[in-house]
């Protein structure tokens, strides 16, 4: 069976020391190998030379070259970010961490992977939602190799499995959600549910991958109906705009109305103050006059009467009619008199109307006429 079982006596066919303490000293290895070679091919050569004809040196050079290649192939530097799976004779042997590692040539095979780098894959597709609408969703899945042994050994093409798991999980979750939820508030929830689902698939397949984050990068309506969706957004804006306009109107008219109301109140108050003050004033004036009147009623009364009539008559054109009773027919061109006075003031530039002297003349004529009539009347009265 296996002639070099792992964990055995570690007999290295090349005579080097298989060391956890680093690679063996190169000179020492070469020297040992040379010694063995010499022994193998039958002659014990003196140091540095060969006395066995032409074959010896060539064999040695070939052997050294092979040896160097083997050593070069055997030394592995594993970066801090990496791990490596070692298969010894096809069987899983161990997993290497970071550092300088040594493998047996031909016996061990090494697969190195970066296990700290967060890798990312994006998917974009149209899919059906629960309410049989179509949405276009873009997600990105970030993942790391968390179990390099599983990653290397369990699944053929684990990255491909991740793609399939992600697409299936995403469509499953979107298919179980309503479109509105996917497009709006559901995005966070959806992403975390997709993540859980992808992880469960990956675990079931034993991919050794761990999903660190799922981002729902975009969820939108497909291009075919994009404009209708945009119109909804615009309609929402319109709603706000209409409301704002109405509020602007309200904010405009109500303070104005309040101002008007204030004005009305102020005017009413002014009116009130005015009429009361006027009343008080007039009442006071009357009271004072009354006191004096009480002292000399007749005289005061007479004086007030004459004063007033004088004032009235002084300002008014007047016609004194000295007639007895109403049996005398009398014609006075009153309308003319009044009309002339009016037209005089209205049409002074006209020239055709009566001027002030004309009017005086007319008035005098009228008065003379009246006097004559009155005197004749008196005379006739006296004669009777």
């Amino acid at each position: 069976m296996a002639w070099n079982e792992p964990g055995g006596n570690n007999q290295d066919p090349w005579g080097g020391r298989r060391g956890n303490d680093g690679p063996p000293d190169l000179d020492e290895v070469i020297k040992k190998a040379m010694d063995k070679m010499g022994g193998l091919f039958g002659s014990k050569p003196p140091a540095g030379g060969s006395s066995s004809g032409g074959f010896g040196p060539i064999a040695v050079i070939v052997f050294i070259a092979l040896l160097i290649a083997a050593v070069y192939d055997s030394i592995h530097i594993i970066d801090q970010r990496e791990q490596a799976v070692v298969l010894r004779l096809g069987k899983y042997h161990e997993t290497w961490g970071p550092g300088l590692q040594w493998k047996f040539p031909l016996v061990d095979s090494v697969t190195k992977e970066n296990v700290t780098k967060v890798q990312s894959k994006s998917f974009n597709n149209k899919m059906l939602t629960e309410d049989e609408n179509i949405v276009e969703v873009t997600i990105s899945v970030q993942y790391v190799i968390s179990d390099i042994k599983s990653y290397v050994l369990n699944v053929r093409n684990p990255q491909n499995s991740l793609s399939q798991a992600a697409e299936s999980a995403l469509r499953h979750e979107v298919g179980s959600s309503e479109m509105h939820f996917v497009l709006t508030e559901g995005r966070e929830t959806l992403a975390s549910e997709v993540q859980v689902r992808i992880q469960s698939y990956l675990d079931a397949y034993g991919t050794g991958l761990t999903v660190s984050k799922v981002n729902l990068e975009g969820a939108q309506a497909p291009a075919e109906v994009q404009d209708a969706f945009l119109d909804v957004t615009k309609a929402k804006e319109d709603e706000v705009r209409l409301r704002n306009e109405a509020e602007t109107y309200a904010n405009g008219i109500i303070p104005e109305a309040r101002g008007q109301a204030q004005r009305q109140m102020e005017e009413a108050n002014a009116y009130k103050e005015q009429v009361v003050a006027k009343a008080v004033g007039e009442a006071d004036r009357f009271n004072q006059l009354l006191v004096e009147y009480k002292r000399a009623p007749e005289v005061t009364r007479e004086r007030l009467y004459i004063d007033t009539i004088q004032k009235v008559l002084a300002e008014t054109p007047k016609v004194l009619v000295d007639v007895e009773g109403g049996n005398n027919m009398m014609y006075l061109p009153l309308d003319k008199i009044v009309g002339n006075r009016v037209t005089e003031s209205v049409a002074q530039t006209g020239g055709q109307s009566l001027n002030a002297s004309d009017l005086d003349k007319v008035t005098r004529q009228v008065i003379d006429e009246l006097r004559q009539r009155q005197s004749s009347n008196r005379r006739t009265r006296e004669l009777r």
Partner: protein
């Protein structure tokens, strides 16, 4: 060249040739069967190095990892007779190596083909039992788990394969149905947009009407208050007048009348026609004391 070194070389070459025929390695990612003249003698070779007899023994190795069978999208009919384009994949693994070898002669592609037709048939049945809605939303897991369980026993006994998972990636409507969906989505959005706009107008109208109402009320209240104040003023003034004038109503009436005369005949256009008998003219005709 010495005969010894030649001998050693020959021995090395010979042993290498024998070793390559006698020794074989089964990798951790592989499964293998050992055949003796075509007959399976070891159906489950462990990873590692093994020895076999040249000529007599043969080794067949297969990939033991999880493999993927990714279908091209197929059209399935649901219970409600609607066609759906379904994109699915199957995760499988060789479980019974000797069965796998005998059933497929170790050909992975042949195995995939066998598997594909069974899964396809199973999916067809599963879809035929469900409506579109059930398939899309609620019952994906159920559908796939059901199918996995049903098929697993069959494929294990038939081709030595274990099904890890049957999973539907995409379930799509055919392209011409998509058009109808878009039309419906569009009409739904139009309805929604109309609703927003109308609601905006409704709100706006309400706000305006409310503002108008408030304005009218403010104006009415102001009018009421103003009239009240005016009335109050009028009442106060009336009381004041009454108080004063009731002291001598006759004299008041006299004074007031005089004032009225004065104000009435103030305009230029007024013409007074006076009778000489009036009291004012009592001295005009006769400068004597009238009796």
């Amino acid at each position: 060249m010495s005969s010894r070194s030649l001998f050693v070389s020959i021995v090395i070459l010979l042993s290498l040739a024998i070793a390559s025929n006698v020794l074989y390695i089964v990798k951790e990612t592989e499964r293998g069967v050992l055949l003796r003249f075509g007959e399976v003698v070891d159906a489950d070779l462990k990873p590692g190095i093994h020895v076999k007899m040249p000529v007599m023994h043969q080794v067949r190795k297969f990939d033991a990892r999880v493999l993927t069978l990714d279908y091209t999208p197929q059209s399935y009919l649901t219970q409600d007779k609607k066609p759906l384009i379904v994109d699915s994949f199957v995760k499988w693994r060789i479980k019974d190596v000797s069965k796998f070898y005998t059933a497929t002669s170790g050909d992975e592609i042949a195995a995939s083909r066998l598997l594909a037709s069974r899964v396809d048939d199973g999916l067809r049945k599963q879809f035929a039992q469900r409506t579109v809605h059930e398939v899309i939303s609620g019952q994906r897991d159920e559908l796939m788990d059901d199918l996995t369980v049903k098929l697993n026993q069959v494929v294990l006994t038939d081709i030595g394969v274990e099904l890890l998972d049957i999973r539907v990636k995409g379930i799509e409507l055919p392209e011409r149905v998509n058009e109808d969906v878009y039309k419906r989505m569009r009409s739904e959005r139009e309805r929604e947009a109309r609703e927003y706009r109308s609601r905006g107008r409704e709100l706006a109208e309400g706000i305006r009407a409310d503002a108008d109402r408030r304005r009218t009320i403010i104006e009415a209240n102001a009018y009421r208050e103003a009239e009240k104040i005016r009335g109050d003023g009028d009442a106060q003034s009336a009381r004041i007048y009454a108080e004063a004038f009731s002291k001598d109503p006759e004299f008041y009436s006299f004074v007031r009348s005089l004032k009225a005369y004065q104000e009435t005949f103030s305009a230029d256009s007024d013409v007074m026609i006076l009778d000489s008998d009036s009291d004012f003219f009592k001295y005009l005709g006769a400068p004597k004391t009238k009796q």
